[in-house]
Symmetry: C2
């Protein structure tokens, strides 16, 4: 039996609320994400929308993108579709019908189960167990098992199981936490076979085709009159099983599904092979569990002292691990992963700053794959820069598969350029922590070079003050429309240039031939190198008289914000108190800005500076973003304010479980998942992963925790770090080295 | 015969282009505006959209307004609708069918005529003359006369004439210069009577009803078989006349239309009375012409030396004069008047700054009526301020009939607050030029008090520098997203407070009882008065080291803009070169900003300052707005740069006639009409209307002009000013005073 700290359990009486919890119970394997929706057909369209998203499978969206076409994640065919009738009555989740309800996510095994007892209108009682998993060992397979048992008298039972391609979008086309409701259709069904179905995304000229197939087994005990017959429609492939169960009799349906898209090659042929070679349900599940055991062995964090925190933390790690598209470097990880339609599956800066440290230090292969995604979109970033009269590469604020800027027109993506240096930071950190020179020379240097080039063209030199400035930007505090000299952006930009110079120097020395080729391709000149060097140490970091690092050069000039009037509960200030336009008038910070900067550049700022910044910005921060709690936890822990840090840790660790942002319905907050890991490892664990390649550990455990232990990948080795109180032990599991 | 300088003539062969010219030939009377569309039914919906807009008649629009409901001007029933058949063939404006085409606007008389010869498929030739006017003497009447004459052999003729309520919107719902195309329907037809029709705007809960009726007369000569019969449909009331014309025979249809809406009272009853008492076409026209003669007598400007300029200038005055809603203080003048749907008939800052000086100095009653419109919307402005946590009254950037902020959400109306002080400026100027104390005490003081109060709460005091600052604003240069300390806004705000203090002092002294009542109503305290006084002389005006007045406190820090790359022709920079978001990165001024400031506050800045500002900003200004040429003409003329001024004068005087902004199709640019007047009177005429009530004349004529003469209303008197070269003669026509 799995220990409680591995189980996320839910016993919700109000079935109307369950849609809001579907995203929390998402299962995935990087290839697809499957929300925790109910398998069995419900009356009413809203409850039968499914919710399975595949990486890279996009349809045309409803908004106007800056570049190219606005995209949205396609709700792909629901391969868990079932319809159950007991004594002719549809089995529905309705008050009074269901008892002993339990939905349980077993995070150790990656399995979701749901059990309940259902009572029919005439008193028939059936015990129902649903089980599902998305194989992380064989990413083109998933499994589903349903058991129905007659609790009292005999019942006649009818179970249909199929793949339903008649689904529509959940209609979450904006960043607002809209309730799920039936939306646009994205799929045309091309063919319904005996066990297979083929559909095509018809809303885009380059729409992919999706081929899926199912293998069904029905096993009945204590039953009579079993009958299996086809049950397909124009948009669904399926089969129906019917039988009469005696009291105590049971039927079990197991289903193995296989799925491919035209992004994988000849999807139809691949599917046929996969169905022919399909493992049994039990074998598939066993391999899946073994793969999860390996994942956990690498990335689990053990906490002694608080089981709730242990479970919540594991939930965050679980969602992160299962979502990484480590099989396909054409993809990265969207803001909501594949757990919902919000942000349309697009990739933002938080991928590099919030999620990547986790992957770099626990699963470097996944990190590398996501960095190669950025390499693959480098040409799009170069075109974007050129179109805007800048040099080099300007990565899109909101990137889809092709790297085009998918931000809606007119909301300020032109200013939110710190994304460019965020990518360079993650790349530099990956290189520092892994020592992966091959990656650096094959991909990294070119990204660093083109992004450094962008920054040089985007900054201005103030001759009088003898410093470089970057004007018209928007930092992580998204309540700013435009600011000038955002400290975060300026420090990151300078580092981008420094990283480029370091990487070029290394490549020039260690791979001179490849470098000559690259320098020629990029038309890189000594004059350019010299101009970059002139930036180092001369970037303007705005400060107050007392040394306080300023979010931007005019933050102090703004009017004080009346927090008692404007922030009275969990709602965002801009959703009820004042319009977004009003925010730049005030000293108000939507989400961690300088605090995040200092967390990431801990070796550039003194502890006194960090303390001063925290004391100033924390009361001015409204946390109207899920990207705010974790950085506060990290810094508070590092500063030894462990109670404060612990409070912030709980804000991030339970964010989706408790739905504190009021929009988990639209998907799990992936940046925050990575932030939770950082709160624990960088905060309480005190790990300092410097860009120069050093790794330090200066822990500060909260009083509720007795110990903390986790593993990190570092320079090709695996370290085990065990923290007790303020003491850490570091053990190198790859060699015999211990500290 | 009217002299050529009174006639705007057009002989356009390409009938596809005529829609683009309809707005230019708009006739109106303040009650309604009627585009110069063709009377006769054309095949194809686009050509039969009509285009008659009534002040205050709005339907629900398609966008999301900040406050209340987004509105659009309703395309009201087309009361000029006709359908003509010659020998059974529809008379269409098609290439090859029409010769000797001429559309002529007689500006002296306010009459539009259109003549051509039409040739049928079988060779029948008909000479056609259309004539129309919207009575400015009796604003609920319009007249239409059509004459058809058989040029060669006999023809059989069928003429239907009616009021067509089946029109739809022109579909110009955005600020983009969309081609006209059939859009939403706004009208429900309630009743079709014998000669009347009643329709209701159904898209708004408070939609108005419109009642219209027509009186038709057919007079035929050299004809036989005349027959008149009803020709109504469910959405149209009309009659049909048919006859056979001999060669040279002719038929003349005259129509007198009357129109009312529920905004006028019981529209049906009013219409019945108006039809019963309707004058004949000839009498109606005679009264209309007499009224125009009076208008011209008051506002005409005579130029000796260039007939083209004379005609173009008269065109600008003509459109301004006929559009003023001087009969109804619930209305003001929209950005496109009633000549098109762009900007949805809403009122912006240019009303007060560009158009009001013309009315204040030539038609003070019209000016007063528009100021009372602002008084009527004062409560809405107070609510707007309160909702945004400010005191006093914050007038909407884009105001409809009720003063609510109709700007779409998220485009920065929060920043564009100079509108508030622009209204106060126009009010102060009206008071200074008219000495209308009654208006001041009844309406003006309260507006000045509440707007001053707004400014005091919107500004911040910088203790160290000892000055007031206004942050997070957008000045007239709309390419800025947010700037701080926009010189224009700051100077205007300070003047707003100064005007309030002056007005209060006057009222306290001259109408103490009324003042006590008002002070009580507004809860005005001595402490508040004192705090206002602290602002005077302490408002920050950003300047460069060399004294250059800066558009905003960071203008010089921006990057230089490559004008050769970004502005190569008449297109707006943001429509093809770079996105709007990029503009704040550059030293680029969309439209006159500091230049307009210095024109209006000529006594606050020295000539050297003005010269410096002009030299700096003129090359940085792209004139991507119609609000830019005129201020440049004014300043260049005042600085004695008459060639440059003349070049800019021509840009504004011919702007709509030549459609240089490429969007006159969507309506005439009313701010520019007023700007043209200012270019001539304030620029070449050198008139300086100071807020302290003095009027100076320092003319600089362009070399192309021999003389210039015009009248101004000043302190209740009428002055005639005649300029020859750099010499002006001022004659007081009301008393015997001459200078």
């Amino acid at each position: 039996m799995t220990a409680k700290t591995w189980l996320l359990e839910e016993k919700i009486g109000d079935f109307g609320k369950r849609l809001g919890r579907d995203a929390v119970f998402t299962l995935g394997n990087g290839y697809l994400g499957c929300r925790g929706f109910f398998d069995e057909e419900q009356e009413g369209a809203v409850e039968t929308l499914g919710g399975i998203y595949m990486g890279g499978v996009f349809g045309a969206g409803a908004l106007k993108a800056w570049e190219g076409m606005h995209r949205e994640l396609v709700n792909t065919p629901n391969f868990l579709w079932t319809s159950i009738k007991v004594d002719g009555e549809q089995l529905l989740q309705r008050p009074g019908k269901v008892s002993s309800f339990k939905r349980v996510l077993d995070m150790r095994r990656g399995v979701l189960t749901r059990t309940f007892v259902w009572t029919g209108a005439a008193g028939a009682k059936v015990k129902v167990v649903f089980e599902r998993f998305m194989s992380v060992a064989d990413i083109h397979y998933a499994g589903q098992r349903i058991t129905l048992q007659a609790v009292d008298g005999p019942v006649s039972l009818s179970v249909s199981a199929g793949i339903d391609a008649g689904v529509t979008q959940h209609n979450m086309v904006t960043t607002l936490p809209l309730p799920i409701q039936p939306g646009r259709r994205q799929l045309d069904v091309l063919a319904v076979g005996e066990d297979t179905i083929e559909a095509k995304v018809f809303t885009r000229p380059d729409g992919v085709t999706i081929d899926e197939g199912q293998l069904l087994t029905f096993r009945a005990e204590g039953s009579s009159g079993e009958k299996v017959k086809p049950d397909s429609t124009k948009t669904r492939v399926g089969a129906n099983f019917s039988a009469r169960l005696e009291k105590g009799g049971a039927v079990t349906m197991t289903k193995v599904v296989a799925f491919f898209t035209s992004r994988d090659g000849d999807a139809k042929a691949l599917l046929a092979d996969a169905l022919a070679a399909a493992p049994s349900y039990d074998d598939l599940l066993a391999r899946h569990e073994a793969a999860w055991a390996e994942k956990w062995d690498s990335a689990d964090i053990e906490i002694e002292g608080c089981d709730d925190d242990q479970r919540a933390l594991r939930y965050n790690l679980f969602q992160l691990m299962q979502a990484a598209p480590r099989h396909d470097s054409r993809l990265s990880l969207g803001a909501r992963g594949l757990s919902g339609e919000m942000h349309e599956g697009s990739v933002f800066w938080d991928n590099e700053i919030f999620k990547m440290p986790f992957f770099t230090l626990t699963d470097p292969e996944a990190a590398k794959s996501m960095l190669i995604y950025r390499y693959r979109t480098l040409e799009a970033a170069k075109k974007h820069a050129k179109d805007l009269w800048f040099d080099g590469a300007m990565y899109a604020w909101k990137a889809g598969v092709d790297g085009l800027e998918e931000t809606e027109v007119g909301v300020g993506a032109y200013y939110a350029i710190h994304i460019v240096a965020d990518i360079a930071y993650a790349l530099r950190q990956y290189w520092a922590m892994t020592g992966d020179d091959a990656f650096l020379f094959d991909y990294g240097v070119e990204i660093l070079l083109e992004t450094a080039r962008f920054w040089k063209s985007r900054m201005q030199f103030d001759k009088k003050a003898g410093r470089y400035e970057i004007r018209a930007v928007r930092g992580p505090n998204e309540y700013d429309t435009i600011v000038h000299n955002n400290a975060y952006t300026n420090v990151f930009a300078e580092q981008n240039i420094r990283s480029a110079l370091e990487a070029i120097a290394k490549m020039r020395k260690e791979a001179p031939e490849a470098w000559r080729k690259l320098a020629g391709k990029c038309a890189f000149t000594p004059a350019e190198e010299k101009s970059w060097k002139s930036v180092l140490g001369r970037m303007y970091i705005p400060r107050a008289k007392d040394g306080l690092v300023l979010e931007d050069d005019a933050y102090l000039l703004r009017a004080p914000f009346d927090f008692k009037r404007g922030k009275v509960d969990g709602r965002r200030v801009v959703d009820w108190a004042l319009p977004l336009e009003a925010m730049p008038f005030y000293q108000i910070t939507k989400q961690s800005d300088v605090v995040t900067l200092m967390n990431l550049f801990f070796d550039r700022f003194t502890e006194a500076e960090a303390r001063k910044a925290y004391a100033f910005y924390e009361p001015r921060t409204v946390h109207d973003s899920s990207l705010s709690f974790a950085p506060h936890a990290v810094m508070a822990a590092r500063l030894g304010m462990t109670d404060e840090a612990y409070r912030y840790f709980r804000e991030c660790a339970y964010l989706d479980i408790a739905d504190t942002q009021l929009n988990s319905i639209s998907g799990v907050h992936f940046a925050n998942l990575g932030g939770t890991w950082q709160a624990v490892v960088f905060g309480f664990g005190g790990v300092r992963a410097s860009l120069d390649g050093t790794l330090e550990v200066k822990p500060h455990l909260p009083s509720a925790w007795k110990s903390l232990s986790f593993k990190l990948h570092y320079g090709g080795d695996v370290l085990r770090i065990v923290v007790k109180g303020n003491k850490a032990t570091v053990e190198n599991l790859s060699s015999a080295w211990t500290e």
